[in-house]
């Protein structure tokens, strides 16, 4: 909402400088978002009379004019088509300033020009750039622009919250200034000179839908003269962000900006019957609005008709047919109150929001309707002439019923943490023109311009914001321990992040809305939660797996030549479920590796990350978290290579999957490098982590360390051999490490050699050599018989 400080000062006397107005309005809830200083770059402009106009040869546009500025005659070249002898015009002499330039002597069309005859647009007084501004003949040449129009103004751009329709007007803001102690509000003059003929004989008003239109007032004015508005009116309407049209339309807009009440002027001669009928539109009824667009209405739209056909969509926009034009002489001025919900729905259905609809849908003031009508008619009769018929035709089937609100001062103080007296509260509310009495608690009556005030708490807010949030004492409470403990989930999540960051991982935070095409190509679309109204197909699926948001991140980084990646994320995935109302959400850890395992080093070559790198990383993490031993069980997962696709188990519990991303999946994601990936269900993992750690006693006797190397068939898994070693050692082998895998020379085809380092140990004494020889031999035998292993020395 744009507020003119000049106009505001006409409604309320206040001696605050502009910056104080800005500060007080901002801090009481009408935030000033921008301040525009109008006319600050204009200097030395005055009225001048055109005394001679002659064509410049060789130019069809330019004329050479002589103007009289009250003291002397000045030659000036003018390009405007409407310049004519005897006009009083706005003149910028050499040395004067207009926005963007200082006037200098110039040569135009071969003629010397000592200044400029100005258009309104050149002074930014309106948008009219096509012709020069022509002033009233009565203005004397030499009169300064300051004396002609109050063009120096400050325009404040206010952010008005949706609960405050009353503040979409100068009177509303004036009321705020009044409450804040700036002065006393006074209503603009609405004393009319009416002729004797009663308006009620000229027009009837019938309301078919009193819920949609609780009040409709009309006034009739005869024999008006439609013309451009006087400069001050054009300028004010333009300063406040609207386009000047003609005197009557500008007046309706001016009054709306002044008093907040939307008005509409009809060319009453174009009414087929002198009767307004407010009714619901028919489903599919066509109506051409004054912007020359044919609109299709529905039965919830409220239509203003002349009892034969439509003349306006109520509260939204008037019709083209009955629009005020140069030919208009009789005017019906509508000032009505329409139901907010009806207007909001109507405006939305049409996709048409106007200054009028914006005010009605938030809630206009039903009691302002006749006042605004009077005010506009007064201005019309002053500016456009005309005779105002006697009386206002006011149909008010559903009068406004104010809510009476009881306010307990102690409740207000209790909510705000203040110690305000009932009198202070009473004064604040009355300052806002909320009639309040202090008798046995406060009794307040809801004003018709404040649809938002119906409860005690609503008034508490009014008191708080006018008293000033800054003045409410700030309380610093001691922290306390109210349920602020860290959950196991939070604690472990922190540990996972620390571990992985320490291990060299980069934490990412990716969008949970992922590409539907990628999801589809990976065969997951049918089993994914999708957005009904996505912004784009790239963000249409709520991710069903962490890989879907991880792959695009990897691709992006590789594209920027960042090929060695160790990325991790703890986030959520969303599953499709028929059984539950909401799609189940699962908190997951994802880790992805690609490129080299470590940074480039001058002393040795780099190694690529591979399946065993990611497996080792997970094993390390499990070890760090005391999660227990990681077991992999082969399982086809859509994204992984067949031989490198596993479910991750701790004991019998599946906590996720791990593998190397398949070439097919990588090419779908447009990635050329190998990617190794693991996803772990955080909840399942956290459940498996012991709550506490009990320290174990250390081994007091040294172990006996022996190695064993066996040649076995390629299809035998290392883990099976290792398990056998432990099992057949009868508890003596406490640690078994695989330290070598060898294929090649001296090893037959389809065989491999595996070497194990074994620590034999007893808790209570040192083992003898014989005992160690014995168990080591037993193990060798067992491996031979079970796996056909051949010992290698």
């Amino acid at each position: 909402m744009k507020i003119s400080v000049n106009l505001l000062r006409k409604i309320i006397d206040f001696d605050w400088p502009v910056d104080k107005v800005v500060e007080r309005l901002t801090m009481s809830g009408s935030e000033v978002e921008a301040i525009e200083n109008k006319g600050s770059d204009i200097e030395g402009i005055l009225a001048a009379k055109v005394i001679e106009v002659s064509k410049i040869e060789g130019s069809d546009k330019l004329t050479c004019c002589t103007v009289f500025d009250g003291k002397e005659k000045i030659d000036v070249v003018c390009g405007a088509p409407n310049v004519a002898k005897d006009q009083v015009v706005l003149f910028a002499p050499v040395g004067s300033k207009i926005p963007g330039m200082t006037l200098k002597k110039a040569k135009i069309g071969g003629k010397e020009s000592f200044g400029m005859i100005l258009s309104e647009a050149e002074l930014q007084l309106s948008d009219n750039a096509d012709e020069i501004a022509v002033l009233d003949d009565s203005i004397k040449p030499g009169k300064s622009l300051e004396g002609i129009v109050e063009y120096k103004d400050t325009i404040l751009e206010l952010e008005i919250t949706p609960n405050r329709p009353d503040c979409l007007s100068h009177i509303g803001i004036a009321r705020e200034v009044q409450a804040l102690g700036g002065g006393k509000l006074r209503m603009p003059d609405i004393n009319l000179n009416e002729i004797d003929k009663p308006a009620s004989e000229a027009v009837k008003i019938v309301i078919d839908d009193p819920d949609g239109c609780p009040r409709y007032t009309g006034r009739v004015t005869r024999n008006v003269k439609i013309a451009p508005s006087p400069l001050w009116l054009k300028m004010m309407v333009y300063y406040l962000g609207m386009r000047p049209i003609n005197n009557v339309v500008d007046i309706t807009n001016y009054v709306m900006l002044e008093l907040g009440h939307p008005l509409h002027a009809f060319d009453f001669d174009l009414f087929k019957k002198p009767q307004v009928l407010v009714r619901n539109a028919f489903e599919g009824e066509k109506f051409i609005t004054l912007d020359e667009v044919e609109r299709t209405l529905n039965s919830n739209h409220l239509l203003i008709t002349d009892s034969v056909s439509g003349v306006a969509i109520a509260g939204i926009m008037g019709g083209e047919h009955s629009e005020v034009s140069e030919k208009t002489s009789h005017i019906l001025l509508e000032s009505a109150y329409f139901d907010p919900v009806t207007i909001r729905r109507g405006s939305k259905a049409l996709g048409l929001a106007t200054e009028s609809s914006r005010r009605f849908e938030r809630g206009a003031d039903p009691d302002m309707a006749p006042v605004a009508n009077d005010r506009a008619c007064k201005l019309i009769s002053e500016i456009a002439g005309g005779e105002i018929l006697k009386g206002i035709v006011d149909t008010y089937p559903k009068p406004f019923m104010p809510v009476e609100i009881d306010l307990k001062p102690e409740n207000v103080n209790h909510l705000l943490g203040t110690d305000l007296s009932p009198d202070t509260m009473c004064d604040i509310l009355n300052g806002l023109n909320i009639n309040t009495e202090n008798r046995n608690g406060l009794k307040a009556v809801q004003p018709s311009f404040r649809p938002d005030l119906v409860r005690e708490v609503d008034l508490s807010e009014e008191i708080a914001r006018i008293y000033g949030f800054d003045n409410i004492p700030t309380v610093f409470r001691p922290g306390g321990t109210l349920g602020a403990e860290e959950t196991k989930m939070e604690r472990i999540t922190g540990q996972v992040r620390s571990y992985l960051t320490g291990a060299g991982g980069t934490e990412i935070f990716s969008l949970t809305l992922v590409d539907s095409l990628l999801t589809k190509r990976l065969g997951l679309l049918e089993s994914s939660v999708t957005v009904m109204n996505p912004l784009s197909e790239e963000m249409a699926v709520v991710r069903p797996g962490m890989l879907l948001s991880m792959l695009p991140v990897i691709r992006r980084n590789i594209n920027f030549k960042e090929k060695d990646l160790f990325l991790y994320e703890i986030g959520d995935i969303y599953l499709l479920s028929d059984k539950e109302e909401l799609p189940p959400q699962q908190n997951c850890l994802a880790i992805a590796l690609t490129g080299n395992e470590s940074p480039v080093f001058w002393g040795s070559a780099q190694r690529k990350s591979d399946f065993h790198t990611i497996k080792g990383l997970l094993e390390n993490l499990a070890d760090y978290l005391k999660l227990g031993k990681i077991n992999l069980r082969p399982e086809d997962y859509f994204a992984f290579e067949k031989s490198r696709s596993f479910e991750v188990y701790i004991g019998d519990i599946n906590i996720g999957y791990l593998g190397s991303v398949s070439d097919g999946c990588l090419s779908t994601a447009d990635i050329k490098d190998k990617v190794h990936f693991v996803e772990i269900d955080m909840c399942k993992m956290v459940d498996l982590i012991p709550e506490s750690i009990t320290a174990k006693e250390l081994d007091r006797f040294p172990s006996a360390d022996r190695d064993i190397a066996v040649v076995i068939d390629e299809n035998i898994k290392a883990e099976d051999i290792r398990t056998e070693i432990i099992d057949s050692s009868k508890g003596l082998a406490t640690d078994v490490l695989i330290f070598d895998l060898y294929r090649g020379k001296n090893i037959p085809d389809n065989k491999k050699s595996l070497a194990f380092g074994i620590k034999y140990r007893l808790p209570d004494r040192t083992l003898t050599d014989d005992e160690v020889d014995d168990v080591h031999g037993r193990i060798a035998e067992a491996l031979k018989s079970k796996f056909g292993a051949e010992l290698r020395s």
């Binding site: 801090m27 809830g29 919250t161 405050r164 919900v341 729905r345 209790h414 909510l415 943490g417 708490v457 609503d458 508490s460 807010e461 708080a464 914001r465 949030f469 409410i472 700030t474 309380v475 610093f476 409470r477 922290g479 109210l482 349920g483 602020a484 860290e486 959950t487 939070e490 922190g494 992040r497 960051t501 320490g502 991982g505 980069t506 934490e507 990412i508 935070f509 990716s510 969008l511 949970t512 809305l513 999708t530 957005v531 009904m532 109204n533 996505p534 963000m539 709520v542 991140v553 992006r556 980084n557 920027f560 960042e562 109302e581 909401l582 799609p583 470590s598 940074p599 080093f601 001058w602």
Partner: protein
């Protein structure tokens, strides 16, 4: 034969290391003597060649000669270095980079979440979470949002289906917590939120919010101010000022927007704060009685306040990040800075 060749390799590695590491001429001489001398290791192996089978003898002999030559060359080079004026400190290049592993990083947004959580935990708030996808009731109805409020529109909010949507705020968690628990309640709820905003420098359709809720008997607007001011000082330093401006939200009354004094210009005015000296942070207010009624709390017995904050916005201010998209693109060149 492979054993003897492997053995030669071991000897070569040992000898090379010993020569390289020799710190002066005397040590080097003794190394040369022990490998290349008449009674040195190579001579010893050479003498043992006779025991090999005649077929492999020439091959091993040739390898032995090669090795002898390589070690002799190396020793000469080293002798040159040691007898020159260069000391071992001169020749040891400590400026070569160390053997490094990749350096891990925490995402700046997550670092900020951690910081926020720690600050509020210190004030007695615990962390509550809830699902990203939630009901229209928890998102709007329970929060006193009118039936035809624009926030419910398809143009503002992502829906999964009718009545089920991607939450535009984490206020859902407040509702869920109050439904599950009797007062007093003191929680914060950090989490992802969704709004149908086309991505640009200050908007992301997925973003990160943290809301707070404090309900008890005798909670006042003064307490709300205290908590926000304490947070501001902990997060951005003791010089930060906070101001509260009246505003409107359907779920709080009185409602406020709160601003922090601009930490970039110290409140003097700059481009970031549009010369106002203030940066708009988010909204707050006293919980509307209608919200208490919706969750079964008695508005005559308890009062409370709620506040929100954009964790992305806090992160951007904290690290002077100019474009929100950087937070969600996960470019490691960006992440490496934190």
């Amino acid at each position: 034969m492979s054993e003897i060749l492997a053995f030669l390799k071991t000897i070569e590695d040992e000898a090379k290391t010993a020569i390289e590491n020799a710190s002066d001429k005397a040590v080097l001489d003794s190394v040369i003597y022990s490998y290349l001398g008449r009674k040195g290791k190579l001579a010893e192996i050479s003498r043992g060649l006779g025991k090999l089978d005649p077929q492999s003898r020439p091959q091993v002999g040739a390898r032995l000669n090669e090795l002898k030559k390589r070690l002799t060359d190396l020793a000469e080079k080293k002798t040159g270095i040691l007898t020159s004026t260069l000391t071992s400190a001169d020749t040891f290049d400590y400026t070569l980079p160390g053997k490094r592993a990749f350096v891990g990083r925490r995402h700046p947004l997550m670092q900020t979440v951690d910081r926020i959580v720690n600050i509020f935990r210190g004030m007695g708030f615990s962390v509550a979470t809830g699902p990203d996808i939630d009901t229209e009731f928890n998102n709007f109805d329970a929060l006193n949002t009118p039936e035809d409020h624009p926030a419910r529109d398809l143009s503002d909010t992502f829906y999964i289906r009718k009545g089920i949507l991607l939450r535009p705020h984490t206020s859902t968690v407040q509702i869920r917590t109050m439904q599950a628990q009797k007062p007093p309640v003191r929680i914060i709820s950090p989490g992802r939120c969704y709004r149908s905003d086309t991505p640009d420098a200050s908007h992301s359709p997925v973003f990160y919010q943290c809301e707070g809720l404090f309900v008890d008997e005798h909670v006042t607007f003064g307490d709300l101010k205290g908590v926000i001011i304490q947070f501001a000082k902990d997060m951005f330093g003791p010089r930060i000022k906070v101001r509260f401006r009246p505003h409107f939200f359907p779920f709080t009354e009185p409602s406020a927007e709160y601003d922090f004094s601009c930490m970039i210009c110290g409140g003097n005015g700059c481009r970031v704060c549009k010369n106002s000296g203030w940066l708009e942070i988010s909204g707050a207010g006293m919980v509307d009685p209608e919200v208490f009624r919706a969750v079964g709390y008695d508005p005559d017995r308890v009062t409370g306040f709620a506040f929100g904050m954009g964790v992305d916005r806090i992160t951007m201010l904290r690290y002077r990040i100019g474009d929100i998209r950087l937070l969600y693109e996960n470019d490691v060149r960006f992440l490496r800075q934190f």
